[in-house]
């Protein structure tokens, strides 16, 4: 799996570099002795493609190590991948909702949810830590450091 993943990564990097290369066609060109806006990104894309090909070739030709043949790329036992997905989803929803409901309300929910997913302990402990952390962060950032935290409609 690992070797395949390296090859996939190399391929993705090639596509990524090609995208940048092609888009640079729209940039203003050289003026006088300045090489222009497209030169540097295009040189980089070529470098990326060359290096990606090397990585792909290395991925194809090298031998799989012992640990790699034993393990899989993603940890599917114990619902590892599910936890990752839940973390990512929660981290997408939480900032989005911050525009509406504000830091003090959403953060304990987010924290509590994640702590439950990661099996951090009993419900009481999770609740306590989630609330305590939220309050501490609020006090330190908003009050002490005067760094504004996302507020919601209620505050406006």
């Amino acid at each position: 799996m690992f070797k395949k993943a390296e090859i996939v990564f190399g391929g993705a990097a090639v596509l990524f570099a090609l995208l940048f290369f092609i888009l640079a066609g729209n940039f203003p060109g050289a003026r006088g002795h300045d090489v222009g806006m497209a030169f540097y990104p295009r040189v980089l894309s070529i470098l990326i493609i060359v290096l990606s090909v090397i990585v792909i070739l290395q991925g194809i030709t090298r031998k799989e190590t012992e640990s790699e043949s034993r393990e899989s790329l993603f940890y599917t036992e114990d619902k590892g991948v599910q936890r990752v997905v839940l973390l990512i989803l929660a981290t997408l929803i939480y900032p989005y909702l911050l525009q509406y409901a504000g830091f003090l309300i959403l953060t304990p929910v987010y924290l509590g949810f994640l702590m439950w997913v990661i099996k951090a302990g009993k419900a009481k402990k999770i609740l306590f830590l989630a609330l305590l952390t939220t309050v501490l962060i609020y006090v330190v950032f908003q009050r002490l450091l005067k760094i504004p935290l996302p507020t919601g409609l209620f505050y406006n």
């Binding site: 690992f2 390296e6 990564f9 990097a13 990524f16 940048f20 888009l23 640079a24 940039f27 002795h33 300045d34 090489v35 806006m37 030169f39 540097y40 990104p41 980089l44 894309s45 470098l47 990326i48 290096l51 990606s52 090397i54 990585v55 290395q58 993603f74 940890y75 114990d78 590892g80 936890r83 990752v84 973390l87 990512i88 981290t91 997408l92 900032p95 989005y96 911050l98 987010y110 924290l111 994640l114 702590m115 997913v117 990661i118 099996k119 951090a120 302990g121 402990k125 999770i126 830590l129 952390t133 939220t134 962060i137 950032f141 450091l145 005067k146 760094i147 504004p148 935290l149 996302p150």
Partner: protein
Amino acid sequence: MEAILSGLELLLQPLPLLMLFSGVIGGIVVGALPGLTATMGVAILVPFSFGMEPVPGLLMLLGLYAGAIYGGSVSAILINTPGTPSAAATIIDGTPLFNRGEAGRAIGMATFASVFGGIGSAIFLVTLAPLLSRFALAFSAPEYFSLAVLGITIIGSISSGSLAKGLLSGCIGLIIATIGMDPIQGYTRYTFGTVNLMGGVPFIPALIGLFAVSEAITQFERLVEPIKEEVNLKKLIPSLSDVKRVIRTMLKSTVIGTFVGALPGAGGDIASFVCYNEAKRSSKHPETFGTGEIEGVAAAESGNNASTGGALIPTLSLGVPGDSVTAIIIGALMVQGLRPGPLLFRDHLDIVNALFIGFIAANVFFGIFGLMMAGFLSKLIMISKRSLIPIIMVLAIVGSFAMQNNVFDIFLMLILGIFGYLVRKINVPLGPIVLALILGPMVEENFRKSLVMSYGDYSVFLTRPISAVLLLLALISVVTTLIRERKGKHIPGTE
């Protein structure tokens, strides 16, 4: 002499001293908490420094810097997780020492070594930075270009994974750095119409995402067993025999660490591994390394704290960041109207001296506070590693939001976090990407300026002596890494 006195005058006031102390203590805590790095801590506090006079504001940041690089060792030893990337090498011998019940001895030595390295590098800083700043007058666009190229090349060469992966990672970072306004004319590139990318990919959320969030995702995937043991923190003060055992290594690591720190972009994470490997290689008993050899801890910790003073050398004298923290500090300096370079030493020598003395003091303070706080810190960290990860996620989100008050930055952090998580699985190093984000604009701007200056003559990079030397060093770094790879050896990675 009077310059030193005027520096002391600026330093020995209530506010600067308070800021220095709080910075150090905050730094130790930030460094000890895995997921919060020195860079993040400095980044989050920088806006706070804008409202203050230069000396207290910068002293807070310097205190945090020194404290955090030290603080990472505590969690490295206690919970087998580096509090900051620069403590990764400390785990190799720190964890076995903890398992043997010698956590106190390890933490004590880590503290001692960190103070030693930090003060040693401060001596280099104080003597070399003014000299180098005069040298800076010989630096023009070609030299800055070559210096930036050297920085990225070295990181790509030393990082984990193959040389190709390291350089690929660096180039990907460089091309991402082209997103936004170009450095010469402000023409916006690759922004796909969104205003949020016009300033380029914001560096702090990118860093937080690539390091902290990717680590959090990895920890969610593979749960770690919670630790329940009591920690034995006796014997904190290093014994005389321990000191005798490690003194030569510490001296060497301090020099190496300062030098690595002074290389643009290379910081504590690289320095600690280079020093560790050198200590093991030149030791009469290399087989003990990795089993709980106290010398390993000493090498790594004096190396990483030495890199802090080293990183400040090009920062203050040339305006080129020695590592990611000093990249932010340059920003803080500019906001205060202090331009790094020879003028800084000419017109603001009192401020510079205050910062020098304060930096030395910070290195002493974290030693004292660190030993005093060891008990408290160990309890804090051991509460539950699992609870820490969600808390780190919240801090990451807040930290990413705080810089520009923009929710978009949070999503950027997440995207890069997922990218970092995936890419780590195939041993592609993340360090080069971050460095490329910092140094990228410098590379392109100076490349194009050089060509304009030389009327299109490319040989300018090789005919100017300093530039040629720097590029040659970059080439040497690549070639030696290639040779090492052929032979089958490779430095165990940093990220």
